[in-house]
Amino acid sequence: MKFRSPLSQAKGLGSAKHGFSHWWWQRVTAIALIPMGLWFVISVLCLAGGTHAQAQEWLSSPINATIVLLFTLTALFHAQTGLQVIIEDYVPTKWINLVLLLATKFAAVIMAVLAIIAVLKVSVGG
C-alpha cells in the first residue's frame, strides 16, 4: 500500500531513502565502542602521569596501535552520526543546518587522517 502522495514526493517531503543505513551504522559502531572504549579508558589510566617513552612504547605495539586507531575512527564516525541527528532535530534554518552538517563531516575526516598519521608515525616510523 502506498501512503504518500506523489505531490509530497515532488515537494521533497519525507524519506530520502538512507535513514535505515544511518540508524544501523550508529548501532554497529555503538556496539564496537563498548569494549574498545573501556580498553581505551583503562589504557589512558595506566599511562596517566607517565613519561613520553612509556606512551611511545605503548603505541608502538601493533595490537595497541590497531585498537587505538579502530577506537578513534569508530568514535569519530559514531560522533558524526550522532551530531547529524542532533543538528537535524534542532537546527531548523536550512543553510545553517547544511553548514553544520558539512562542518562536522569535514572535521571528522580531518581528525581521522591526523590520527592515522600520528599512530602510523609512532608504530611504523619509530
Binding site: A30, L45, G49, L83, D89, M111
Partner: protein, 128 residues
C-alpha cells in the same frame, strides 16, 4: 524553500520525567564527547611529535580545570555507554514497559556513577 516540518524534541513543553531527562542527557553527554574528539586526536599527535609536545600536554592536564574535563569525559562515557546498552535492548524490542523503563533508567545512573567512582579511585591511586 523552507518547509514547515514538525521539530521532534519539544523540550520545554513537557514536565521533566526520568525517561525524558535521561534521554536528553544521552544527547548532551554524547555531543560533549563528540566535540571533545580533538583532545583525543591531539593526544595521539603529541605522542608522535616527541617528548616536548607530550610534556606540554601533560602539564596542561595537571591543571584542575583539565582534570575536571577528564572527569566529565569519564562520566559522559560511562553514562552514554550504559544508556546506549539500554537503547540496544529497546532496539531488540525489550524493556518498553513503564516500570522497566524507570528501573533501567535508575540502573543507568547507578552504573555511570559507580564506574566513574572506580575510575577516580584508579586515577588517584595511579598518582594522576
Amino acid at each position: 524553500m523552507q518547509k514547515e516540518r514538525p521539530l521532534s524534541p519539544h523540550l520545554s513543553v513537557y514536565k521533566p520525567q526520568i525517561t525524558s531527562v535521561l534521554s536528553i542527557l544521552n544527547r548532551v553527554f554524547g555531543s560533549f564527547m563528540a566535540v571533545s574528539t580533538p583532545v583525543l586526536v591531539y593526544w595521539l599527535m603529541s605522542i608522535a611529535s616527541g617528548p616536548e609536545a607530550y610534556a606540554e600536554l601533560q602539564a596542561c592536564f595537571s591543571h584542575w580545570l583539565a582534570k575536571l574535563f577528564l572527569l566529565a569525559w569519564a562520566f559522559s562515557f560511562y553514562y552514554h555507554m550504559s544508556n546506549g546498552i539500554r537503547h540496544l535492548f529497546w532496539d531488540a524490542g525489550k524493556g518498553h514497559g513503564l516500570a522497566t523503563l524507570t528501573k533501567s533508567g535508575y540502573a543507568v545512573l547507578a552504573s555511570a556513577v559507580t564506574l566513574t567512582v572506580i575510575t577516580i579511585v584508579f586515577a588517584v591511586a595511579g598518582g594522576a
